[in-house]
């Protein structure tokens, strides 16, 4: 199976595992350590996300009844689960205070106005109602309303009523603004007019008011103001507005000059007319364009801006239209009027609030109709401008607001009117003072909204609305510089403002930030206190849980800030709200977390991690510490990521990981201990059955890899931010993973070895699939290791190291990791090989048994061979089907090596027993069958071992004579390969006839001197081998040639041979060269050489030169075989003769 496929398969499987609920097997597996890795890895991540969701949910979903809650948003008691009741925040006074007190409070503010005076004024206004509205029928109800609102007792009421009735009606004025006119009729010769407006009251038409002349236009814009006193009976009065064309007093000559400007015939006739008039009268005359009559009773009290069509006579012809703004007003002292209006507003508002059905906060700013009539009458009759009214409202509302929270939108809309005109106000004007006084009054409640932003559920739209309004107000207010005389932030009210030194000037911007910070700080203190455990001696675990909870609450607060408030703050006052929050949390949290985490890390007891021998596994109880710490790490990591996206500043928290260094080491220690334990358990549970039919490994391999997978996930989640630490931790993880691998291999071997130990030792070893699976498992883990380690992101870390430090250092780190991995791979491979050897070794006894039996008895009758073959075949079949190619190859080699040992032993022991050659012949045939059998497995078998054993068996199987001949043939081979000879050379020639061999011994050269004179007396003896075949054929001898190292024999022999003798190609001629001793009986041996009949026939008729040699010891199986035949006389004699020759 190639590696990629294997991986694919693995991940698919892992995926399936994830999809499916844990099986019984997994439960058992996880039982041991309480699902440690699942917790540490993916489950923990899910859990932390889950927690955040839980925290988030109540923020967004608990929609409580808005109707009941919307009453005074700000001071409402927090009822959210997350913000348990905080009494300290409830500083606002009780709303249900007595109305009289309020009235007192209202007038308390330095006013000199008496309520009764104001009452009289208001009654007077009611009786002298102005404007088009016919309030005649309502006078009674208005009076009643006012009496209620002012809370005037009846007696006083009648009295004041009387006074008011008898008072002279007010001097009402009609205020007119002539804004513009459009589409006027042209009156001049140039097609245009030079319009101006004349105003007068019908009753007083002598008193006329003229506007300026707008020359040469049909669409003039005047925007001019007029104020006409209305003496009496304003209801019947009619205002006449006339638009005239102005004709300047021009001379006739000037008029004539204008002829060039004339447009059309009509224009010309007009000019002619003008010239005629001018010429005749000598004076100018303006011409009426049109007129509008406006009855004053059509004007409402709040005024009117309206277009009027201009008319003249009864002609229906369009003469243009004019836009006029008409308002009524009474003459009054301005400052008194404003003061009155302020007080009136307060009274009306108080009454309005009292009688209103809705809460104060929800008052829309619209008075009931009676109140509105009274208010507007007062405004008009006092001649108050809209700005005056706004200032009065600003003042009145802000005072009421101090005790009865009003809707911020009211202030906002007032500010819309006021803000544009503030800059025009005089520095010391009363209005400006009123404005800032109002600001001072409403600001605390604005800041309160910001500070207490967390008191309400954000799902309540009103919170965001309130914040939005408040920010609008602040945005508008902070545009203008606060006058030096105004102290907007008195210490008594703003205790929470951060004042480093007393002289620090507070401004609205800094106060906003202070408000945000204060609110956040208070909230933080609250949750810090609120979530703390009551007992002082809390455990580390509790401390960590506490921080996690804290951070998650803060996170959800930030989440909320980003989701709901950031936009508002940014758009309205250009503040990054959540960034401000985060920065505050950052330093506070850092303080809290750092000390606790460091504390906890220091408290961690070092674990007893087993060393490389794994002689014992540490207890895994009480090892749950660390998961919570890790959870905290993840939470903090996510928290810091959030901060980095929010703030550009350097965060204190960003170094959080450093507090965990000891912790990480601890986790890694836990990991290895748990991993080892789990591997042990996985192996114990492993039934050594393939996981499914597509793969050839069993459950423990999958389990072990999934442990690795979890460690990988752990590392990925850890995502250590600092590169040097990353490297070191990776080095440790790699080392640990390697140890796991080795441990797995070690325990796997032990596990399968137990399989046979349990059974009968004498029983024949049967190779089962379990053994193969064990080998496969080990190999599978081993092969998976590098890719797993690669997935840890080592390359990336090394690369970063190179960038951070130098390439030299990165290279050293890289080679360290490599060395560790290589070590593990080597060790594991060795363990696989070892197991394979064990398997082969276990197969040895039966193989030996069969072999021995098979060689013992006669081949034909024996079924031992068949049994051996069957045994081998079934074993090899299992191996071949289960093992991968590499390991199958390995085990074949191992079996061969076992077999060769067995054969060796067998041969050796039977040689000692002097077995006949037939025995070895049997053995030889067995071997050949076995080789055949192995070749079925289609694997290249080991040729070296086989040839060695085969050669030996060949030798042992031969009869002695054949052995001896075999020796001679070996000698011939040796002679042929000999390049030079110290003994000399012999030249012959031979020819075959039908019945004989003609052998000519020609000469010898360079014969080794044997005599003291340095010469030799040589002769040649030629004998025919094997002797059995050439029985009766005598050896031939040449004459002796004295004292000559280069003797020329030149002697021809004719040897009669039979057909059979001639035909055998392996027949040999042995030429012995001897030195004839003059005195002695025997001849001295010089050397010998051989030639086969085959060679003779090849070189028939040619000279053949042969090197002489002497027999000496060679590492020859043939000789050894002969030597072992001590009981064989022939062999014994031969060896003896050979020894004589070689030592001669």
């Amino acid at each position: 199976m190639d590696e990629e496929q294997m991986w694919k398969g693995f991940f698919v499987k892992l995926h399936e595992l994830k999809m499916n609920p844990p099986t019984e097997h997994e439960h058992q597996l996880q039982d041991g350590d309480d699902g440690f890795f699942e917790k540490f890895g993916s489950l923990l991540r899910q859990k932390s996300q889950l927690n955040e969701n839980i925290l988030k949910t109540p923020l967004s979903t608990s929609k409580e009844d808005i109707q009941t809650e919307e009453i005074d948003l700000i001071i409402e008691k927090p009822n959210h689960a997350e913000y348990p009741s905080i009494d300290t925040f409830e500083e606002e006074s009780d709303l249900q205070s007595d109305t009289n007190d309020i009235s007192d409070a209202v007038f308390d503010s330095g006013t000199v106005m008496n309520v009764e005076d104001l009452y009289e004024e208001i009654l007077f206004e009611i009786y002298n109602n102005i404007g088009c509205e016919n309030n005649e029928g309502r006078i009674e109800s208005l009076v009643g309303f006012v009496q209620d609102a002012f809370k005037i007792p009846n007696s006083t009421h009648l009295e004041i009523c009387d006074v008011a009735r008898r008072k002279e009606p007010p001097n009402v004025r009609l205020n007119i603004e002539i804004i513009k006119a459009e589409n006027l009729l042209s009156k001049d010769s140039n097609g245009l007019s030079d319009p101006f407006v004349t105003l007068y009251l019908e009753s007083k038409n002598s008193h006329r008011y003229n506007s300026s002349v707008k020359p040469a236009t049909l669409n003039p814009i005047w925007e001019e103001h007029f104020s006409l006193p209305i003496a009496e009976n304003p209801r019947e009065e009619v205002l006449i507005v006339e638009v005239w064309d102005f004709d300047a007093a021009e001379t006739v000559k000037e008029k004539v000059n204008k002829i060039m400007d004339v447009k059309g015939v009509k224009g010309l006739s007009k000019l002619m007319k003008e010239i005629a008039v001018t010429a005749s009268s000598g004076k100018h005359d303006n011409e009426l364009i049109g007129r509008a009559a406006i009855t004053l009773k059509s004007i409402p009290v709040c005024g009117l801006t309206v277009w009027y069509n201009l008319e003249k006579g009864n002609k229906a012809r369009s003469r243009g239209s004019i836009l006029v703004n008409l308002t009524l007003s009474a003459e009054k002292n301005k400052s008194v009027a404003v003061q009155e209006h302020k007080n009136l507003l307060k009274l009306l508002l108080m009454y309005e609030l009292e009688t209103s059905q809705v809460a104060y906060f929800w008052w829309s700013g619209k008075f009931s109709s009676n109140a509105e009539i009274i208010r507007s009458q007062h405004a008009v009759q006092s001649g108050l401008s809209p700005v005056d009214c706004a200032i009065s409202q600003w003042h009145a509302y802000s005072i009421i607001h101090e005790t009865h929270k009003l809707n911020f939108s009211l202030f906002n809309s007032i500010l819309d009117i006021l803000t544009p005109v503030i800059s025009c106000m005089q520095k010391d004007s009363e209005d400006l003072a009123t404005y800032w006084d109002g600001v001072r009054r409403i600001l605390p409640s604005c800041f309160a909204v910001i500070r207490k932003i967390r008191y309400k559920n954000v799902s309540d739209l009103n919170v965001t609305r309130a914040v939005s309004e408040v920010l609008d107000i602040l945005g508008k207010v902070k545009v203008y510089e606060v006058p030096v005389t105004v102290d907007l932030f008195p210490t008594s009210v703003y205790g929470w403002i951060h004042r480093d030194d007393a002289n620090k000037i507070c401004n609205i911007d800094s106060a906003i930030i202070d408000a945000i910070n204060t609110g956040t700080k208070e909230w933080l203190e609250h949750i810090v206190e609120g979530s703390k455990y009551s007992s002082d001696n809390e455990t580390d675990e509790e401390k960590l849980q506490y921080i996690i909870k804290l951070i998650q609450m803060i996170r959800s607060d930030l989440q909320r800030a980003m989701e709901y408030f950031d936009k508002l703050f940014y758009h309205k006052i250009q503040l990054n709200y959540s960034a401000i929050l985060y920065l505050l949390y950052d330093s506070k949290l850092t303080d809290i977390c750092k000390s606790i985490v460091k504390d906890v890390c220091n408290n961690i007891k070092r674990l007893d991690v087993p060393d490389d021998q794994f002689e014992y596994l540490p207890k895994i109880d009480n090892l749950n510490m660390g998961t919570t710490l890790f959870e905290l790490y993840l939470v903090l990591k996510r928290y810091v990521q959030l901060g980095e996206s929010l703030c550009t500043d350097e965060l204190e928290m960003s170094g959080f990981y450093q507090w965990f260094e000891t912790g990480v080491t601890h986790w890694l220690d836990i990991s290895i201990i748990k991993a080892l334990n789990r591997i042990q358990k996985a192996i114990d549970l492993d039934q050594l059955v393939a996981v499914d039919e597509t793969v050839k490994y069993s459950s423990s391999a999958v389990d072990t890899l999934s442990i690795f997978y979890q460690i990988k996930i752990f590392w990925q989640q850890l995502d250590w931010p600092e590169v040097e630490g990353s490297y070191t931790f990776i080095a440790k993880i790699v080392n640990d993973l390697c140890r796991c691998c080795i441990f797995y291999a070690q325990r796997m071997s032990q596990r399968v070895e137990k399989l046979t130990k349990l059974g009968d030792n004498n029983k024949m070893f049967i190779l089962s699939e379990e053994w193969c699976l064990a080998i496969n498992n080990m190999d599978y883990i081993r092969q998976s290791l590098p890719s797993f380690i690669k997935e840890l992101g080592i390359d990336n870390v090394i690369q970063k190291l190179g960038e951070y430090r130098t390439n030299l250092e990165a290279d050293r780190c890289s080679s360290t990791i490599h060395a560790v991995i290589e070590n593990a791979l080597d060790t594991e491979r060795n363990q696989i090989v070892e197991l394979i050897e064990i398997v082969a070794h276990k197969m040895a006894p039966p193989m030996k048994l069969y072999l021995a039996e098979g060689a013992e008895v006669l081949h034909k009758d024996s079924n031992s061979m068949d049994q051996l073959m069957m045994y081998l075949e079934s074993s090899l079949d299992t191996l071949y089907n289960t093992l991968n190619e590499v390991n199958f190859g390995r085990i074949l080699e191992s079996i061969w090596s076992e077999l060769s040992i067995i054969l060796y032993d067998l041969i050796q022991s039977n040689l000692d027993k002097r077995r006949p050659p037939a025995y070895f012949k049997n053995l030889k045939e067995t071997l050949q069958t076995m080789i055949y059998c192995f070749k079925m497995g289609n694997v290249e078998t080991d040729v070296d071992i086989l040839s060695t054993i085969k050669i030996r068996l060949d030798a042992y199987a031969l009869e002695t004579a054949d052995l001896i001949h075999q020796y001679y043939i070996e000698r011939l081979e040796y002679q042929k390969n000999q390049p030079l000879s110290p003994f000399g050379q012999l030249t012959i020639r031979a020819e075959f006839t039908d019945s004989s061999l003609l052998l000519t011994i020609l000469n010898a050269r360079n014969l080794l001197p044997m005599d003291s004179n340095g010469l030799v007396d040589s002769f040649i003896k030629a004998s025919f081998m094997p002797t059995i075949r050439f029985n009766g054929v005598s050896p031939v001898k040449t004459a002796v040639h004295h004292k000559n190292c280069f003797p020329l024999y030149d002697q021809e022999f004719c040897i009669i041979l039979n057909e059979q003798q001639l035909a055998a190609g392996d027949s040999l001629i042995l030429f012995s060269v001897k030195d004839k001793d003059l005195f002695g009986m025997s001849s001295q041996y010089i050397g010998e050489c051989y030639i086969s009949f085959t060679d003779l026939r090849e070189s028939e008729g040619e000279q053949i030169i042969m090197n002489l040699s002497r027999p000496e010891y060679t590492d020859s199986d043939t000789l050894r075989a002969l030597e072992f035949r001590q009981g064989d006389k022939q062999a014994k004699d031969f060896i003896k003769k050979l020894k004589n020759k070689s030592y001669s």
């Binding site: 021998q613 050293r812 090989v833």
Partner: protein, 256 residues
């Protein structure tokens, strides 16, 4: 004849090198393992790991050497690697008086994290940079000897990675010291008879035969014994090739 695989196992020993930053720990290791000297100044990051096979007194050893970073900020990162060590080299520089003073702290840190007994553990005190000019020398041989005596550390050696002086000797010294202590421990164990506390790892010669190391199990007939690195970590093919040679072996017994 039946056991044709000679037990050519190499013992695996874990060695840890400790000492202040800049005393030349990595240089010592590089010289020992690769016989190189790196002129460029560099810092070890966390830990480094190298293998080295050596033959001492006819026995083969594979040293797994963990070189550590001396800087304090790496403390949490390097300590996990102490566990399971067999030999500890405490390094100082001859031209740095402070580095000698630091040795006591290093020793304690090691004892603490490796969880071993001080008097049964082979510490070797190694003085680096013996190639410096005499006037730069701040630590005298005698003063170190005295310190060692106080700490009951038997082995002290001065080396120079630059000049390749005494480098292997330092490691061999450690190895011999280890062997000596192992023998003592074994003898004690035998003396004590049955009362072996099984809950604690026992330091026994025999226990380190197959370990994390590549050379851990060389059960093959790696008969040449020349300490060749490649031979120690034999790839599988070669492993079999050598095993094959085994059956031929008896042939040499034949003499005429």
């Amino acid at each position: 004849m039946t056991n044709m695989r000679p037990p050519q196992k190499s013992k695996l020993l874990k060695v840890v090198i400790l000492g202040d930053g800049g005393v030349g720990k990595s240089a010592l290791l590089t010289r020992f393992v690769s016989n190189r000297y790196e002129e460029n100044n560099f810092h070890t990051i966390g830990v480094e790991f190298m293998n080295k096979d050596i033959v001492v007194d006819g026995e083969r050893y594979t040293l797994q050497i963990w070189d550590t970073a001396g800087q304090e900020r790496f403390r949490a990162l390097r300590t996990p690697f102490y566990r399971g060590s067999d030999i500890c080299l405490l390094c100082y520089a001859l031209d740095d008086r402070d580095s000698l003073r630091g040795l006591g702290l290093w020793r304690n840190e090691f004892l603490n994290y490796a969880d071993v007994e001080a008097d049964k553990f082979p510490f070797i005190v190694v003085g680096n940079k013996s190639d410096i000019q005499p006037h730069k020398r701040q630590v005298s041989y005698e003063s170190v000897q005295q310190w060692c005596a106080e700490q009951q550390i038997a082995s002290h050696i001065e080396t120079s990675s630059k000049a390749a002086m005494n480098v292997s000797d330092a490691f061999v010294l450690g190895l011999r010291q280890w062997k000596h202590l192992e023998c003592v421990a074994e003898a004690e164990l035998r003396h004590n008879g049955d009362t072996i506390d099984l809950t604690r790892p026992i330091r026994l010669v025999q226990r380190r035969l197959c370990c994390t190391g590549g050379g851990g199990i060389n059960k093959d007939g790696d008969g040449d014994g020349d300490g060749d690195d490649a031979a120690m970590r034999t790839p599988s093919k070669k492993l079999f090739g050598q095993k094959r040679s085994a059956p031929k072996a008896p042939a040499t017994n034949y003499r005429l």
